[in-house]
Every structure is written in C-alpha cells, then in structure tokens.
C-alpha cells in the first residue's frame, strides 16, 4: 500500500492495499457502466477485485429522488479481495439524492466527487435535504471534488452537435476520466473500448471520448491536483492465461452449459422472468450454444413442469427463479423427487418474505430448499460461494442429478448473481466427458430397480423400443414401479429415497478448511458470505488468532465429516444472512454447541463487523 492513501483510509483493515470506489446516480446516469469500466482497468492491471452493483427495484424512478438511486461498488487491490468492501474510500455522486443515500457508506475522510450543478435548490429539495449539504458543514472531514460536471461535459461535447439530453449522457465518461487520472491511468483503454462499442467514426463514440478526455485533463489542470492524493495503481502478477470478469449469473450459465455438453445432453433452461434470477436466462438465450436452449414458460409452475418434461424425454431440464417462483415450483419438484428424474433448480435468493426486497441478497430460503415440500421429499442442496465457484457448482449439480437421478437445488443469491470478479478462463477441452448412458432394451426391465451403489434407477427415455413404462406421482412399487398402496412398500420407498440422498455426501467427502485444523474458532458459512468471512479470517489469523473457516458447498445432505472437523475447535460459529437456518440444521444434525451469527438486512456482512464478532468470541473464551 502506498503511504499516502492511508490518510484517506482510516480502515482498521490495513494489511493489504485496497481501494473501494462507489459510483452513484440516477438509474439513467450510467453508473453501472462507469463502474464496470474502472473494474476492467483494475483487472488488466492484474489486481484482485470484487464488485457489487446495487440497484433499486424501480426501473425508472423519478430522476433525482432517493429511491431512484442506483450504485456500483468496486474494490480492488493486492492480496485477498473476496468482498466488495465494507465502506467506500471514494464516492462519486451525480446528484444530491445519490449523496444522501450513499454518504453513510463512505469512510470518514473519504473522497467525494460531486456534480455541483445538480446541487441547486430543486435537486436538494427532491433529495429530501433541508439545506444544501455542501454548505452546512455536514460533510466536514470529507475531501470533496465538486465540479460543474454537467456544464463541463456539455461544453466538451458541444462540437458534435448533440442535444442537451444526449450531451448530459456523457457525464459518466467525464467522471470516469477524472477517476482514471486519480489512479494514474491513461484513457487509451477506454477509448479503444468506446470505438469498438460505437464504431470509430460514430458521433457518440467521439462525444464520449471528448468527455472522457475532458474529465482527465480537468483533473490534471485544475487545482484539485494539489489537494488530492493520487493513488498509484501497482501491477501485480496473477496466474498466467486469459482472464475476464465474470458475474455469478454468467458463471452459472457457463457451468450449466459445460455440464450438459460434457454429459452429451441437450439442455433447456425453462424459466419465467423474475428478479434477480432472469440474467441466467438472458445469458443462455444470447449465447446460442450448440444443443442449449431456453424456454420462457407462462409461469413458474409451467417452467418447472416443462423442465421435468425435458428430463423425462432425455434432455437436461433446468429451471431457475427466485423466492416467489420457487414457492410455486414446489409441488412439481416433489413430483421430480417421486419419479426420480434429474432436474436442476436454481434459486437466486432475494430478501423475503413475499416480494420482499427483490434486488437484495439473503440466504433465507435454505430451510425451504431442504424441507419445503410436502411428504418426505429429500433432494440435494448446493451453494456456490463466489461468482467463479458458480461454474463448478453448476457442473457438480448436473453430475449428481444424473448419477443419482435426483433434483438438485442450487442456492445462489442476488449478490452472487450480480457481483463480479476476475476469472481465469478455463480450458474446456480439459474437462472430462461423462456421457449419459440411457437404458436400452432389456427384457427384464423394471422401472424402479436401482443401481446398488448409487440407488439410482435407470434413465429410460420415451422412444426406446420395448421399454415402454408408466411413471407418476402416486407411490410406486419399489421394483416394478406400478402403483402400490402397500404400507411396507411405502416405508421402503421412503427409506430408499432418503438413503439415496444421504449417500451423496460421499461426493463431498473433502471439506476444505482455511486455517489450522484445530483452534479457538471455526467459522462455518455458506454461499456469498464467503467474501467477508474469508477476509476477516485472514486478517485475524495474520494477527495470530487461532481461527479457521469453512464455507460449505453441500448443504444437503450434511456431511458427517463436518462434525469431526468442528469437534477440534473450542467454538463453532455459523454465519449466515438469515435467522439461523443452517445453524438450526447443524444443531439438529451434528453439532449441538454451535453458535449463530446472523444478519437479515438485505446487505452483505461487513468485514469489520465480522472481525469484531470473531475477536469477541475468541477473547471471551480464552
């Protein structure tokens, strides 16, 4: 870390160099785009990074209001960058509402970059400020760059004859120019990008370039250069290869496609639009990959049922949704369990209950995933821990669904879906092929006869001559599959269904723990909490605390190994974004002494908060 920027940062996490920049404005201000560009600049410098877009549920709320503010946070630097940052070092606020909503996210002494022209009487009132925050001392202690970004941009693009409205659209590039200067970056990469995006001679490309350069030279030429510390972006060397940024949604889409391709199956993602799950459908629709399609059904029930139909016919059926839609799919998922067909269900969890906070992340659907069906209806529940991990989890889910003839639910969340990180593009040809072997003609075929090792029945698709059979949701004879009301048979089928799922823990024998395998505190997390937990663990362990961390990716069945691992620690803490759902599962299953740390605010945990809590538990114990 360069010495200067520590003055801006009063973060207690200072072992590693990192900077967090937050861009905020109206939905139409292009803040997501601007953030994305800075992310790319950081990425090509080889830094670790994590991003977090945060947008309102309203599509186009009235301009200048607080509920219309959208933001994009990017954190980059050296060392472990697994979370998008507790607080921002730099906040770009395009209007008073953006400042009002985001000021609490900025570190004391942080840098504010503001468009002064928006701080007029109207803008201030719209944001709900009593008086101009730039004039009443409420921002004391902050560093402020207040420039008339609107007029400077319009001036810069004047020669291209754009109207006021289109001219104003270039404000984000002006701002980006200024930010790039702060990080001692030149504008050439972004200029290339603009030219590729619009075409070299396109008027919009030219206007945006002019705005970008104007912002950059404004920073260089005006008085701000003497007050503001420029951050020197170091070059770091991560693994060799071709890299890109990836969001959880893209990673799931790639993982599903790869899993299907390697199983030699056609795949259809059957879905119904819902925030925040839709991006997976959009990506797959746009990729137009061989053998991979999407089907937009009339509702979530139909989506799940048609996905089951796909699998029944010998394809790979996938369905994706968020809380409200998952609830609707429940009955159909029960059928897939009963007829024992492969099915992948993706839940991009939002904050609930009901419509809840559609764009915010929570982990409160775990119990629903594990237990939320009528009857004894077990399935497999997996949770990716980072955007890039989604790629592996999706493939693993497909592998299990096929091998064991079972539905598998993947619990993602609104954060994972949208957050991005650098990703070393994998060599797909290096991934093992695992073609499905469908049941062929066999004189003694019994639809519910099982493989003795996996307890899976054979996957026989319609069209296979001589193997015609009937399946359905009524209880089946454990061998012939014919309808059976026999009590002993029902008990046996219940046992078989449970045992089949329980055995799947063998697929997750190895539980990765970060840190020593015994000590004072084991932190257990799952899903997107991985970022903040692992950073907190690393920081404490660097300071000599005996703390370890495991992020469970298979939530059902729960591995009995976990109990052994946990038994070597004085304290076990389960951290999650719900009211203690994994904690309760573990308490019942394996570890009665675990403690629970929860947060249900729709926001990710802050590293600093976890740090304090972990320390407290360890120090109390010792």
């Amino acid at each position: 870390m360069d010495g200067n920027s520590s003055e801006i940062r009063s973060n207690n996490i200072d072992d590693n160099w990192s900077t967090t920049v937050r861009f905020a404005g109206d939905s139409g201000d292009g803040m997501q785009l601007t953030g994305g560009r800075l992310t790319f600049e950081a990425a090509i410098s080889g830094m670790g990074l994590a991003t977090f877009p945060d947008y309102p549920a309203e599509i186009r709320a009235p301009a200048g209001t607080t509920f219309g503010v959208s933001s994009f946070q990017v954190r980059f630097g050296e060392g472990l960058i697994a979370s998008s940052g507790d607080h921002a070092d730099i906040l770009v606020a395009m209007n008073p509402a953006a400042l009002k909503v985001n000021i609490k996210e900025v570190l004391p002494g942080g840098l504010l970059i503001l468009d002064s022209s928006s701080f007029n009487e109207r803008g201030i009132k719209k944001a709900g400020y009593e008086e101009n925050p730039l004039e009443n001392n409420s921002l004391a202690g902050m560093q402020i760059i207040s420039a008339d970004i609107s007029n400077l941009t319009i001036e810069a693009v004047k020669e291209f004859g754009l109207g006021n409205k289109d001219g104003m659209r270039c404000r984000n590039m002006w701002t980006l120019g200024l930010i790039l200067w702060l990080f001692t970056k030149e504008t050439n990469e972004t200029i290339n990008w603009l030219q590729n995006k619009f075409g070299k001679d396109n008027i919009l490309a030219k206007a945006n370039m002019a705005a970008l350069n104007a912002g950059h030279s404004y920073a260089e030429n005006t008085e701000i250069s003497s007050d503001i510390i420029r951050k020197i972006v170091p070059k770091i060397k991560p693994a060799k290869g071709k890299w890109r940024a990836i969001t959880g949604a893209e990673s799931l889409a790639f993982g599903l496609a790869t899993g299907a391709i390697k199983s030699k199956l056609n795949m259809t993602l059957c879905s119904y639009p819902i925030t925040p799950a839709s991006p997976i459908m959009h990506y797959l629709a746009n990729y137009e990959l061989k053998g991979i399609g999407i089907y937009q059904a009339e509702d979530e029930i139909a989506a799940c049922c048609s996905a089951i139909g796909v699998s029944y016919a010998g394809g790979l059926g996938v369905t994706s949704s968020s809380g409200p839609g998952i609830s609707l799919k429940t009955e159909a998922i029960g059928l897939a369990i009963s007829v024992e067909l492969p099915l992948i269900i993706i839940n991009s969890q939002r904050a609930g209950p009901s419509t809840g906070l559609p764009t915010r992340a929570e982990q409160s659907d775990l119990m629903q995933a594990v237990h939320g069906r009528h009857g004894e209806a077990p399935l497999v529940v997996l949770a990716p821990k980072s955007p890039s991990h989604c790629f592996h989890i999706a493939q693993k889910a497909i592998h299990i669904a096929i091998k064991y003839m079972t539905p598998v639910m993947i619990l993602s969340d609104a954060y994972l879906t949208n957050a991005s990180e650098p990703w070393l593009i994998p060599d797909i040809s290096g991934i093992k092929e695992n073609p499905v072997s469908f049941g062929e003609y066999n004189e003694n075929y019994m639809p519910f006869e099982r493989n003795p090792n996996t307890l899976a029945r054979k996957w026989v698709k319609p069209g296979t001559k001589g193997m015609e059979h009937r399946i359905g949701g009524l209880e089946k004879d454990s061998i012939s599959g014919n309808i059976s009301y026999d009590p002993e048979n029902h008990q046996e089928m219940t046992n078989l269904r449970a045992e089949k799922i329980r055995n799947i823990q063998n697929e997750f024998e190895k539980i990765e723990i970060i840190g020593p395998d015994k000590g004072d505190l084991l932190v257990i997390g799952w899903g997107s909490t991985n970022g903040p937990i692992s950073e907190a663990q690393e920081l404490l362990s660097n300071k000599g605390y005996a703390i370890s961390h495991t992020q469970i990716s298979c939530l059902w069945p729960i591995s009995h190994n976990l109990k052994n691992i946990a038994s070597k620690f004085k304290e076990v803490l389960v951290v999650e974004m719900n009211d203690g759902q994994l904690f309760n599962l573990l308490k019942v299953e394996t570890m009665p002494n675990a403690k629970s740390l929860t947060q249900v605010s729709g926001k990710p945990f802050r590293v600093s908060y976890l740090l304090d809590k972990f320390k407290e538990i360890i120090e109390l114990r010792n």
Partner: protein, 335 residues
C-alpha cells in the same frame, strides 16, 4: 413383454397395459379408453414413440392403462410437461389427457397457453362437468345450479366452454365427441393425431356416480339424431331424422339457426357447408345453446400454423456457438 415377440399387426388390445382398469363400472372413461386404443391400432402407432401425459383426476389415470410410455403428473400441469417433452424430442407422439377440473380450473393458464404456443400434441379433455376423483364437487364446466357436496344449494357460477376458450386462445384444431358415439369419436381422434399443432378434442363423458345423465338431453338414443350434428369438412351441415334439418346463418342475429327442410325444401340452399377453416362459423358452432340447438360434434375448426416444438428445434439447430468461444467473447486480458 419382449421386443421380439411383438405381433406384426397391433390390435387395440395390444395397446393395453397389464394394469387393471379401476374406473367405476359404467363410467364413460371406458369407452374413451377403447376409442383411444382403436385409434392407435388403426394407425399402427409405434408404442415406443407414443406418450400419454396426464394431470390428476379419474380421467388422468388413463396413461396407466396404456402399453405405451406414460407420465401421470400433477393437477392441471400436463400441458407444461408435454411442452418439455416435445421440445426435447419432437418425434414423440404426445397425448395430453385431462379432465374439466384439471384443464379449466387449476390448469387454466397452461391450457390457454398451450393453444397459443401451438405445441404439436393432442389434448383429450374428458368433460364430465364435475370433479370426479374428489367425489363430485362442482367444476368450472358445471351448469349453474349444479347440486354437489360443495354447492348444496346449487352452484352460482356460469360454466366455461372449453372449445370457445380454446378458439379464443388461438387453437388450431378444435373438435368434440361423446362417450356414447365411439364410432364417430375414433375418426375425430385420428384427425386430431394427424393435425400438426395442438388438437383439442373435448369429449362429453358421463360420470355415472356424481353427475349421471347430465348430457342426456343430447345423448339419449331417443333424441341423439335431433340433438347432435356430426360435422364433416366440405359437407352441408345436416342433422336430424333423415337429415331433414340444417344449420344456416340467421342474418338478423349473426347466429346460427335451424332450418326445417321437411317444411321448406327450397331453404336447402341456405344450409351452410362446413368449412373447418372458418373461425367465425367455428365460434358460432361452439356457442350454440344446448337447449334450442343441436350439439356440434366432430372437427369444428382446423387450420395450420407454425408449432412451438418445430420453432424451438429449428432455432436450436441454428445454435452454433462453442462454449469456449463464448467465454472469450467481450473483454478479456492476458497475463
């Protein structure tokens, strides 16, 4: 049964599974099951390529009694399962088996969307105007005033007409039959199977236990010829004893009226010739009031339109991208 011992020519009974049929004795479902088997035998349909997909209800048990592939799914959702099956393997001949409660109540949404999407499959709607399996409650097809366990003083709501609903949802094939006229039902099923697109066949089916004789006003032998009109494409719309009655347009009311040819032979020129491509006439035929008019049976409407399964598979065939290329699309950097 062995693959090698299959007879050269399949009889209707060869399409029966070894499972005992468990409908109430006298239930209209038996006759329909036989008509289905007869239709398959007439076509020498390949058992392995035939799939019966059903929802829940008495009628939805049918797949268990067939020696083909069968999927007894969940209440009202069979069309959605059928969609997944057909877009994955369009070569399969898919028959959706549903009841009036299954398709018009809980499954209403899937029902209308199936027609809109025009999936190439047959939908056999067993309409007994009652919830059979759950012991006789009024269904959305029940007439106003139906006395049932849930409507002891008579039901309040007006019934839905499945055929009208299908037509307004964009159905490309709408037909009707009755369980008492199996000879006529078989060719209708056959045409439904041949039609490329979603084919609805609404079959009036007597539930002898919970809604006995509800269709008596047009199925009873004594009135059948006067109260049923069996439509044939290209043929005049004649019915009644010795075909002495015909249907014509009443210009004043833009509806259909009965012409009595016995009394006025010259009026024969006004009798409509059935053109199953004419949606206006199809609508009028399905809207006829059972009290004063005959019930239209046979193929009421039939047009060709692109099917969802064809559209989907053609689109999929155009998908040419390799995943490794897609992963590298957009901004990348090399280290």
């Amino acid at each position: 049964m062995s693959i090698n011992t299959e007879p050269d020519k399949l009889k209707p009974t060869d399409y029966a599974s070894d499972q005992e049929v468990r409908w109430c004795p006298g239930c209209g479902d038996y006759a329909i099951l036989n008509a289905v088997k007869k239709t398959l035998a007439d076509k020498q349909a390949k058992k392995e390529n035939t799939v019966f997909v059903s929802g829940i209800g008495c009628s939805s048990r049918l797949p268990y009694y067939m020696a083909t592939y069968g999927f007894h799914t969940i209440h009202g959702r069979a069309p959605a399962f059928a969609t997944g099956i057909k877009i994955t393997n369009p070569k399969l001949d898919v028959w959706v088996i549903t009841g009036d409660g299954d398709s018009l109540s809980i499954g209403g949404n899937h029902f209308i969307h199936l027609f809109r999407k025009n999936l190439n499959c047959q939908v056999l709607l067993f309409n007994n105007e009652i919830y059979g399996l759950t012991k006789g409650q009024a269904s959305p097809a029940s007439r106003i005033g139906t006395i049932s366990p849930s409507t002891p003083s008579g039901s309040l709501e007006a019934p839905i007409s499945a055929c009208e609903l299908a037509l307004s949802s964009g159905a490309t094939f709408v037909a009707r039959g009755v369980d008492t006229a199996i000879k006529k039902l078989v060719p209708t099923l056959s045409k439904a199977q041949e039609h490329v697109g979603t084919s609805l066949v609404e079959i009036y089916q007597n539930c002898i236990v919970y809604n006995d004789d509800v269709f008596k006003s047009f199925t009873d032998k004594s009135v059948a010829s006067e109260k049923q009109i069996h439509l044939e494409h290209g043929q005049p719309m004649l019915f009644g004893e010795n075909n002495k009655k015909g249907l014509a347009i009443n210009k004043d009311y833009s509806s259909l009226e009965i012409i009595d040819l016995e009394q006025n032979e010259k009026e024969i020129s006004r009798v409509l010739v059935h053109d199953y491509k004419n949606k206006t006439i199809a609508n009028l035929l399905t809207q006829m009031d059972q009290k004063s008019m005959p019930v239209a049976l046979g193929v009421i409407y039939c047009v060709e339109k692109p099917t969802l399964d064809n559209y989907y598979t053609e689109k999929l065939n155009q998908h040419n991208n390799e995943i490794s290329n897609i992963m590298e699309k957009g901004q990348t950097w090399t280290i």
